[in-house]
């Protein structure tokens, strides 16, 4: 395929555009089984992915699905549809382009199955659903190409694992399927290529010209950043000035809650009434679409957003990207910066706005890393088996399957190439019987092996329940928020169930940039009115929490060792000096521990700089030991740099807490009972199909129907400790949430050099941790003591202490 049809070259010429070298190269490789294109944002990556399809369909027009496009975001699929439909129409090509996501109507979806478009744009979840249909072979008949956009984002998550398993299925249905991956700049292209290709086939890697270096700086503000917090309210005037000075600005935040607060404050200060919108994943779909449409029409001067706008959506004339809060990860920072200036060969312009003084340090370190091109990467884990279990159920939905063939198929997915047959069989047994040591309910197996050896669902009606629970995205349970009206008011978005439970009528909170008043709960919907009579609470949406990479942490520790910090703004340099003055600064070869009373509780802060996950594990291990010693720990919170533990009693000698052998010995028994493991279990058990989030009749009554997944976890621990779900939970925890390797690395690094500082109050460096979200409770003796105290207090207040006694 070398000559490009004139209707396509003509279209480029008419616009005075040239076909980029990497777009041509993609065309030359159109018949490769797999090609990975690494190109900067704005490099015409999408066109490079679709060009071979357009050429093929221009030369040989035909009906039926030709190319499947998968992106991690619904919004991205919709955006590509918009940006592809125009050129295709202008070229006069008769190609139907449709998207299919969770937002597509049921009628449209049904029609797509009967009469598939030539180009279908979808997400991993919608694709999983498609391959679960009995008529999947007919839907995908003739499929020639699959384009996976933003593959770097998918390759780091279970959504990617699910997608690559679905791809193994598609390849069986369509043996000639060509695979294309489009990726932003990454540290390790070969690792992504391994995931993309059909194992063990090779994969071509194409590197496009990275373009000019970005123009990226830290925003200097008149106002000093606060000691702690993530609001960056101090930067509002400076940010507004920047918005005024540019055409369109994207203002990125790390969490949804921060985006809400910032947007609120921005509006309060927006004296010129600049058109500014907000966009994040917890907002109602129609709200989001309104903002997207206004953005496309060029009506907005700025959008306050989160990761929901992180990926390659083309917002047209964005000429400035502002990152509020530390970027945590240099790779993602570079990708976000690429959002500005979607013209090839124009440098992107970006500003970092640290929200507090610690983040000033982190931002300076990140800028250094960007200048040195030092992208951070993490080692890849083997494909998780909870996703495999879901894939087996999906296969069963599509029809009876042969276990040997399915095993051969899934091991062509790079992440599952090393999966042993025994591991596969264990997963199959789990899907079929539950895989319990106690052989129960043989009659009610989920999957049955037929006399001809094929596996099928015992009850064909189970397909509905399985399909309702597809996907690997683990949103915490959320409740919809609506304005209270007679017949169901306007939907505003969603808040976490836990946050909703903490509200009492009259409380106000922020959502979608407005202050609303909580009125009550009606059929699992939060009803609110628009009224701002109090200072709002902050909805604790579960925004994605990113971990600071090892590379960035090391840079920060190196900076701490300097005598002074000319590269830092004076306020931050002074803050570090103050910390050095009242306590000391953490060092790479030592471990700093501070303890101090605060807010009626004893606090211990451990500066391990081991990354969020390892610091979290450290929190779990340390609180376990503190519980044993009788210090009554109540909970802890972990950041990338430190773990802050609070409890009822004071820590005097930290040394015994840090005996590595004791930590390791305790690991397994400790793993059994803690909150992070239960959280991990809940996620994995939901993906594997043990817990159903959605059932045909659920959510109506909300009563007695469900019980906590913690009960299942405890029951398995007690009666079936070697069960597959517990193995998966442990595997997950070791690679993901536990990350014991980094604790070992830290212990080796400090070699017993512990500096314990006993202080009378919270230190400059510890203060930010008090405001961190994501506190992990410790269930122990302290809980009983608190209950006793509170019960007594309540009874006395009510004057009924003498009504009851103890027997």
């Amino acid at each position: 395929m070398s000559a490009i049809p004139p209707i396509i070259t003509g279209w480029f010429e008419k616009r005075g555009w040239e076909i980029h070298p990497h777009q041509r190269a993609m065309l030359e490789r159109a018949d490769n089984p797999a090609t990975l294109l690494i190109a900067p944002t704005g490099g015409g990556k999408t066109m490079a992915g679709f060009l071979p399809t357009l050429v093929d369909l221009a030369e040989t027009p035909r009906a039926g699905m030709h190319t499947l496009y998968v992106s991690p975001l619904k919004a991205l699929a919709a955006d590509i549809k918009r940006n592809l439909t125009g050129p295709v129409a202008e070229m006069g090509l008769d190609i139907r382009i449709e998207d299919r996501t969770g937002d597509t109507s049921a009628t449209q979806k049904k029609r797509q199955r009967v009469d598939p478009p030539q180009i279908l744009l979808t997400t991993p979840e919608s694709l999983a659903l498609l391959i679960s249909y009995e008529d999947a072979p007919r839907i995908f008949a003739g499929l020639k190409r699959i384009v996976i956009d933003e593959i770097h984002a998918l390759s780091e998550s279970k959504r990617g694992d699910q997608l690559f398993l679905a791809l193994s299925r598609l390849q069986t249905l369509c043996p000639d399927l060509r695979r294309v991956g489009l990726s932003a700049t990454v540290d390790d292209p070969a690792a992504i290529a391994t995931l993309l290709a059909r194992h063990p086939a090779p994969c071509d890697i194409l590197l496009a010209d990275p373009g000019p270096a970005p123009n990226i700086q830290m925003l200097t503000t008149e106002e000093r950043p606060p000691w702690a917090g993530g609001g960056a309210a101090h930067a509002i005037p400076a940010v507004l000035e920047q918005v005024k000075a540019h055409k369109t600005t994207l203002i990125f935040h790390n969490t949804r809650a921060q985006a809400e607060i910032f947007f609120h404050n921005l509006w309060l200060a927006n004296d010129d009434s600049l058109p500014i919108g907000i966009h994040h994943g917890s907002l109602d779909k129609t709200q989001r679409q309104r903002v997207e449409a206004a953005m496309v029409r060029g009506e907005l001067r700025a959008i306050v957003c989160t990761g929901s706008l992180d990926l390659g959506i083309d917002w047209g004339d964005v000429d400035l990207v502002i990152q509020i809060g530390a970027p945590k990860n240099v790779k993602r920072l570079v990708q976000r910066i690429g959002r500005a200036n979607h013209r090839y060969n124009a440098p992107s312009k970006a500003l970092l706005v640290p929200a507090n003084r610690f983040e000033v340090v982190e931002c300076v370190a990140a800028l250094e890393a960007v200048r040195e091109g030092d992208l951070d990467g993490e080692p890849r884990r083997p494909g998780p088996r909870d996703v495999l279990c879901q894939h087996i159920l999906i296969a069963a939905c599509a029809g009876p399957f042969d276990a040997d063939a399915l095993y051969d198929e899934v091991t062509t997915a790079g992440a599952y190439a090393a999966l042993t047959r025994a591991e596969f069989d264990e997963s199959l047994d789990f899907c079929a019987t539950g895989g319990y040591a106690l052989a129960a309910y043989d009659r009610w197996q989920r999957l049955k092996q037929r006399p001809d050896g094929l596996w099928q669902l015992r009850d064909p009606r189970a397909t509905q329940r399985i399909r309702m629970n597809l996907g690997t995205i683990q949103d915490t349970d959320t409740l919809k928020v609506r304005l209270r009206r007679n017949r169901g008011g306007k939907p505003l978005g969603e808040i976490e169930e836990g946050f909703a439970a903490s509200l009492t009528p009259g409380d106000t909170f922020l959502i979608g940039g407005q202050i609303v008043r909580y009125e009550g709960l009606r059929e699992m919907t939060v009803e609110v009115t628009r009224r701002a009579d109090k200072k709002p609470k902050i909805a604790t949406f579960a925004g994605t929490k990113f971990a600071t990479s090892t590379q960035l942490s090391d840079r920060i520790l190196r900076m701490f060792q300097q005598d002074n910090w000319p590269e830092l703004p004076p306020h931050t340099a002074e803050w570090l000096a103050l910390q050095r003055d009242v306590s000391r600064l953490p060092e790479r070869g030592r471990l700093l521990i501070e303890s101090f009373p605060h807010d009626g509780r004893e606090h211990t802060c451990v500066y391990g700089f081991a990354g969020r996950n390892a610091q979290q594990t450290l929190g779990l291990l340390l609180t376990k030991r503190m519980e044993e010693i009788g210090l009554h720990p109540l909970g802890f919170v972990a950041t990338d740099y430190a773990t802050l533990i609070w409890g009822l009693d004071r820590l005097n000698d930290p040394a015994p807490l840090f005996d590595l052998t004791a930590l390791q010995d305790g690991l397994d028994s400790w793993l059994a009972g803690n909150a992070v493991m239960k959280r991990t279990f809940r996620a994995s058990a939901t993906i594997a199909g043990l817990i159903e989030r959605n059932t045909p009749s659920a959510r109506k009554s909300g009563r007695q129907a469900t019980f906590s997944s913690d009960i299942l976890y405890d029951t398995l621990q007690k009666y079936d400790p070697t069960h597959l779900m517990l193995k998966i939970t442990r595997e997950e925890a070791h690679t993901g949430l536990v990350d014991f390797g980094r604790i070992e690395e830290m212990v080796a690094r400090i070699q017993g050099r512990i500096d314990h500082k006993r202080l009378s109050r919270v230190t400059p460096l510890a203060a930010p941790l008090l405001l961190e979200m994501g506190r992990v409770p410790v269930e122990g003796a302290a809980e009983e003591r608190l209950l006793a105290e509170e019960a007594e207090r309540l009874l006395e207040t009510a004057g009924i202490a003498d009504l009851t006694g103890t027997a």
């Binding site: 019987t433 539950g434 319990y436 106690l438 129960a440 309910y441 009659r443 009610w444 197996q445 989920r446 009850d459 009606r461 189970a462 329940r465 439970a501 903490s502 009626g600 509780r601 109540l634 909970g635 199909g689 043990l690 817990i691 159903e692 059932t695 009563r703 007695q704 129907a705 469900t706 019980f707 906590s708 009960i711 299942l712 029951t715 398995l716 007690k718 009666y719 079936d720 069960h723 409770p777 302290a782 809980e783 009983e784 608190l786 209950l787 006793a788 105290e789 509170e790 019960a791 309540l794 009874l795 009510a798 009924i800 009504l803 009851t804 006694g805 103890t806 027997a807």
Partner: protein, 220 residues
């Protein structure tokens, strides 16, 4: 000392941290909503295949209470089985455990909405039972006095100075006691649900279960 004394219609009762109710004068132990066989029923009806250990676990905990209190009478206050098929499908060793528990004492199954009608597992089956001043039935009736019931699986949350703690709970006022669910696989209905606040008097108590039983004004 881990329990909580109550008085209802002149009868002195003890709410145990385990979720069982003890009537010392009658040496009577009452438990509610065991939901034995729940995982079997879910699997049978095409749901997920949950760990099949909840029956064993529930019976083990009940055995502990029986060993500790040695009651002359045991009342299971309805929804003892997740449904009648679940009762019939009870594993032989669980049946043996039940038989052993019933030996030498009076055992009463009160009918619930999940398990109405007799099952072949020993004991007496009753729609409800009145003993002295107290009436035992599955679902509370408005206007009743001296009534002990289950059905709603009440739970209550306390906001302590450090965190919010939620436990299965007894609800108690001068007319009635609503028992927490005893079964391992049981969720709960929060005490401030309208159904429960309508049933209970304004001065009702909630008794939170757990290692110790704690009485507090019923959160509503």
């Amino acid at each position: 000392m881990n329990n909580c004394s109550l008085s209802l219609a002149g009868a002195d009762l003890v709410a145990l941290g385990s979720g069982a109710l003890w009537w010392p004068a009658e040496r009577l132990l009452c438990v509610s909503d065991l939901h034995l066989g729940k995982s079997e029923r879910i699997a049978r009806r095409g749901g997920t295949i949950l760990p099949p250990y909840e029956t064993r676990d529930t019976l083990l905990r009940l055995t502990d209470d029986l060993d500790r209190m040695n009651p002359a009478t045991v009342i299971c206050l309805g929804d003892s089985f997740d449904d009648l098929d679940a009762a019939r499908a009870l594993a032989p060793e669980d049946q043996t455990t039940l038989t052993r528990m019933q030996a030498g004492r009076r055992w009463i199954w009160i009918e619930g909405n999940h398990d109405s009608g007799p099952v072949d597992l020993g004991g007496t089956h009753l729609a409800d039972l009145t003993l002295g001043p107290l009436t035992f039935r599955h679902i509370a009736q408005t206007g009743a006095r001296g009534e002990i019931s289950g059905h709603y699986h009440p739970k209550a949350s306390l906001t302590t100075r450090a965190r919010r703690i939620t436990r299965a709970a007894f609800l108690s006022d001068r007319d009635r006691i609503i028992m927490p669910a005893y079964g391992t696989y049981t969720g709960g209905l929060r005490s401030h649900d309208a159904t429960l606040t309508a049933l209970m008097r304004p001065d009702a108590l909630a008794i939170l279960t757990g290692p110790r039983a704690y009485a507090v004004p019923m959160p509503r």
